[in-house]
Symmetry: C2
Subunit: 481 residues, 2 copies
Amino acid sequence: MIERCWTRFLFEAIRRMEAQTTYPPVAAASPQGPPQPPSLEHLVIQAELGQDEMVRTGIAALHPADTAELLNVLEEPEVKFKVFGFLAAPQAAEVLSLVSAHTQDDLVERLSDDGLGDLIEYLDSDDATDLLASLSARRAKAVLDEVPQDLSDEVTQLLRYPEDTAGGIMQVEYMAVSQGTRIDQATEMIRSRSDEIPDIHSVFIVNNTNRLVGVLPLRKFILARPADLVETVMDQQVISVRADLDQEQVAQMFKKYDLISLPVVDSEGCLLGRITVDDVVDVMEEEATEDIYKLAGLDEEEEVLDSPWQSIRLRLPWLALNLITTTLSALVIAFFEGTIQQIAIAAAFMTIVAAQGGNAGVQTLTVIVRGIALGEVPLTQTKRVLVKELTIALGNGLALGAAAGVVAYLWKGDATLGIVLALALLANLIIAAFVGSVVPLTLRRVGVDPAVASNVFVTACTDIFGFLSFLGILTLFLQFI
Amino acid sequence: MIERCWTRFLFEAIRRMEAQTTYPPVAAASPQGPPQPPSLEHLVIQAELGQDEMVRTGIAALHPADTAELLNVLEEPEVKFKVFGFLAAPQAAEVLSLVSAHTQDDLVERLSDDGLGDLIEYLDSDDATDLLASLSARRAKAVLDEVPQDLSDEVTQLLRYPEDTAGGIMQVEYMAVSQGTRIDQATEMIRSRSDEIPDIHSVFIVNNTNRLVGVLPLRKFILARPADLVETVMDQQVISVRADLDQEQVAQMFKKYDLISLPVVDSEGCLLGRITVDDVVDVMEEEATEDIYKLAGLDEEEEVLDSPWQSIRLRLPWLALNLITTTLSALVIAFFEGTIQQIAIAAAFMTIVAAQGGNAGVQTLTVIVRGIALGEVPLTQTKRVLVKELTIALGNGLALGAAAGVVAYLWKGDATLGIVLALALLANLIIAAFVGSVVPLTLRRVGVDPAVASNVFVTACTDIFGFLSFLGILTLFLQFI
């Protein structure tokens, strides 16, 4: 109870701060108009204090996306489930498709197969498929037994496509008419199916073998005459994708061609489904997060509000890998123990070489991984990128090597140390550019995500080579000069 | 010429490889239908060999987005400009709004004020504003003098909004009708303005003082009866944003509420413009790139196909900063020179402590910066996140400290070294969690982008504290035990 009061006090204090920040509170979305829904913070407090009736009334006025956010923020799975229980089935279904993976697990494991089946009937086929794909095979089968046969068939069909392909993110709710249809007939069909497919942006036109032959944006329905045939007013230059195209490339196409919806076809050009921009927006964020995470040595499944134990489980393997690579670089240093005994300050300078190489290598890696992800590095430009990075390493290496060498000389009054530092730094920057560019470019060529060449790997290389080059060159100088 | 032949050979080889990869060539977009446009690689070769007529014919069949990609890939500014000159004015204008910043600079500096003014007339107000904002104030003024007064006024108005706010990305081409309009009247208005506003997704409804009171998706026009008043069929729960909202938060709203277009209003709720999802897709990628770049110590302006000199200019300051911080950590090591002279192998173990802290700190920083960017860390959850990260550090620190300590003991047969390594590693992981979470959370609270707490800063802290803790604890052990 003391904990709760403290939390309450914290919330109040933060709410007052928030009034001065630019973080958009839920209510700021529409500056005028209908009465404002309650704030998220109030609902969290009410839910945690068990003020059920106030929560029930409060969430009735919320957008499903806001209700999903409320459930994500609540800590106790039991409280989440209770609040979720206040929703009518159609809202509950939508909210279930919007919550984080973590919250979805909490809710789904508390729902009966029957109850989950009922909710799935309200979902679009792509959301239903995503939800079922996140269940165990056994649970998915049990839930599918509870839904009507046609939906079950649709979902089973969609589940066959790999999750990260066009087929894996498409939905089968779309509007298609044959090319000989008149505008007024097509309009009537849209009208009759408007409940089933609420977010139509364009109508696909197919021939008698279901091949996609054109597309008609909704706007054109308003401009066309009722008696026109759709094939005379449709756009023939229709952009479509094969079901097996990677979702990252689907997202690139949406971005490049400014699309709102995109038809998905099979190898014969027959219409299978469509992808809408709202799903692609999610794909883009997912892919960006995946890249950022991989670069940092993180598992893409981690979420910022996970439990600490979950995060330890996901991060420890990467840290253990880093422990192994860093032990290798420690072995390199141990090999030169004699040199360090002779010149102890070498232990300080070698870390400068390693750190500079690490920073430069991560810069190169990041530019290239992001460039590949955004489709800005065509395969034809591989050589140009590599030459560029080596040129940069040469330029920066000369500048930084000279600076570091002069500082070392002024500090210790030892020209040898200065020269060794400058040479080792230049060499390590060139290695950094090489590792940071060749590794992701090669991974891409062999079909592996370039982001797995993470900072952990690049800095391992620059550490090992940094220590090796500085201590190695120094040892040579000591022996021969 | 030899260089060109070599390039040609390379292109051919790569094109053959590409046939086996999943990278989508331009032509793969529509598997059947109208004749295929020429491949990008062919056009690049033709342009570089000066086969002007083939290029001119080739690009006539291209989507403007593909023409933009062609221009981005071409290396010589003069060749870019020549190919650009083959386009008719409306296409040229669209292509100019789609090319990379780098290519845009190349083209714009070769266009006359008059020529640029002519192109700008074909652009939507948001694209025209972006283009003018990228020019020098003097050039922008000269170009604005060449365009019609009403467009010049519109753009001047839009230029007043900061670039990264809702106002900075909105366009003033939208469709608004007053609440008393009938559906058939509104339809007629859409029809008459369809050339001017090609991508209408919904019509905004305003009252007699231009206050936004509702929204009517195009789909509803098809469902409504011609004599209905728009106010009786419109959605009253309209989501809108103030013009001063940050673009990152605008993008979060599009993602959260699955929007296609979003009206922008002033503090009185009066309609100013609209933002469409295709612009938000660009904002999302821009923001993700910005975060990834900042984390890696890169300037957001850098592009993967920039010239090396441009990249050196942008990366050198960050590397120089790293040189300073790493010199500080070298000073820490120098302070313990005596300890290293006594136990040279300490120089190897201290790098393990620093590297593990760096990896763990970057993990924490990345999860938090990304979580904040995606709106998954409400201000109310700050304490929870901090407690979580410290718990993770304790767990991972105990596991890794124990593992490293045992390895050190087995390797050198020295229990003291093992204990010191374990203690220092645990301490550094806790510092890493603290720095990696408190710094970005604090930056967010004071209104600074959390991503500026980059890897460079975090690893500087973990290096310095890593060396300090290991060498410090070791020195204490040596003196007192």
